[in-house]
Amino acid sequence: MKAGALIRLSWLAALALTVAPAAAATIEVTIDKLVFSPATVDAKIGDTIEWVNKDVIAHTATVKGGWEVMIAPKKSASLTLKAAGAVNYFCRFHPNMKGRLVVAP
């Protein structure tokens, strides 16, 4: 490889590094055997949480007095985070399932 190409490549890499943190991310939360994993997610406003339900039964991600996402069996559902702060959520059908989102501004 020529030196010029190498320099251009490293410049691109540096650009990618500086740009990446500002872009919104999609964070996957798996549901398997009634467990949200990871149980706690650190995210920021604009990120999307995608719940992937591996169980044969439907679940929800519900915030008391707030939002609710319905997650059909063997399907995924997502939510884009619009507010900062920490919220606890649970499954309305199986309240023994609990998760937490910590959303940075």
Binding site: K33, D55, V56, I57, A58, F93
Partner: protein, 174 residues
Amino acid sequence: MFTRYTTGLAALLFVSAAPFAQAADKPTDPQIAHIAYTAGVLDVEAAKLAIKTSKNKEVVAFAKDMERDHEAVNKQALDLVKKLKVKPEDNATSQALSKAAEEERAKLAKLKGAAFDKAYIENEVAYHKQVNGALETLLIPSASNAELKSLLETGLKIFQGHEQHAEHVAGMLK
């Protein structure tokens, strides 16, 4: 007065029936599969009665959740026994469970409105408690096939969720 009487009766019924207490000390896998499947079918039947009878939005929604979950779990159970080539075997525990549920349904069928809702939900709490207790102390420890054991363990988590859900609905009816 009337509701207190029916609640007392329900408690009495559960204590006297106590199907699991009379179970053989260690059921076999074919018997465990039959018991678990029967317990699910019975809750689906109770749910169908509630969907038909209740006018309470929360109670009907809860019953639909029960119908959907128990049917899904029972389908898993059927798929598993087919795969394992196990033939579910009728037994005294399944029969006692069915008999107690039949009596409960006959009792519920005579009730209407708030009295029905209360009796149904209280029975759901008691029923899930009873089935969960049996899963924890008898059925899961007795299961010898690893896949059957794992299905029962997931079932237990689901039904513990139902128990909490039922308790929540019971709290709203008060």
